[in-house]
Symmetry: C2
Subunit: 172 residues, 2 copies
DNA sequence: CCGCAATAGTTGACGCAACAACTGAATGAG
DNA sequence: CTCATTCAGTTGTTGCGTCAACTATTGCGG
């Protein structure tokens, strides 16, 4: 019951403080750029990207919630707002009438195409451009190790993985 | 005006997705543990730690806001709630009667001492234990490089830097 | 079949953060 | 000395996320 190592070593503390600072500032920076450019939060952007990359550009609410690390109520509220903006449509799932399917509209895809360049620029300016190729590889490994603890079920694994080819997966 | 590299390379995308996932999950994990254990958010914990580490355990609101990356309105609301719980006291600054000084109370220090072990365990369990010493050093460098972009003025630099010696700086 | 538990999703209430507007004090120009 | 400007904080409003019901459908046991 006694802590093996009650406090953090100076090295641990220094790295931890910096990581916490990044985790604090990064979401704000992403939300700020996307909000100013296209009026989306980063979460909404990721949700739309997930839909854009899905077969038929359609996903069940539960699947989308799991993929984006959202609770179902949160996703429901977000989708209601996006639907009001005509970026998304919802309709009952034929196979299971309890379920709801969400589809990104053409307007939603268009907005993603409009948003993507600025978003990529922000990602580069704030993160990628600061790192050497070696550090990029190290970051991949480190973040993977941490995710093994934070997200053991790997639910977020496929999130927004379409970056390298852009948002449109228009060719059905 | 044309983007030099419009999209992310596969390596960039993979590392970025993982970093975003960490930035998404980490604050939630910290808030969950601190909230369950002592009813504090991570932000409140950091603010109290900052006060505990300050000379006289006292700081001006503006200085504390800058250090914790909070807007002044946000800090004002947070301090009002903490003051209602007797964890903090506020009083006008003698030198500048516009300003307000905040001090952590004995009860606040006691709560920090109660919270710290669980918090440290959470930090270890979710992050530090997943990394090799080499990776810890790499994380320090990488996060530092990213902070150079996200926080050019280094405002968050001294945040909660007292981890290695625990929360109490009781000896005046 | 019938009923009961579990699942999928929505809705409403509450809490916290951001923004804007405001008070009061210090500073500086004439 | 006076008035305008800036600065330090507080307060009220809005928006988003979480939690706790609630509805509707499925599926299972008897």
């Amino acid at each position: 019951m006694t802590d093996p190592t009650p406090w953090l070593s100076p090295e641990e503390s220094a790295a931890w403080v910096r990581l916490v600072a990044v985790a604090e500032l990064l979401p704000t920076a992403l939300d700020a750029q996307l909000g100013a450019d296209v009026g989306l939060t980063h979460f909404e952007y990721v949700a739309l990207m997930s839909l854009a990359g899905a077969p038929e550009r359609t996903m069940r609410m539960t699947a989308l919630a799991s993929l984006t690390n959202a609770t179902l109520p949160r996703l429901s509220h977000v989708m209601r707002r996006l639907e009001a903006r005509e970026l998304v449509r919802r309709f009952p799932c034929p196979e299971d009438r309890r379920a709801t399917n969400a589809t990104i509209t053409e307007a939603g895809l268009a907005l993603l195409e409009q948003a993507a360049p600025g978003h990529v620029r922000t990602v580069r300016a704030n993160v990628l451009d600061a790192l050497t190729p070696t550090q990029l590889e190290q970051l991949y490994e480190i973040a993977g190790a941490v995710l093994g603890r934070l997200d053991p079920e790997e639910r977020l694994n496929a999130t927004s993985c379409q970056f390298s080819e852009g948002p449109r997966t228009r060719i059905a």
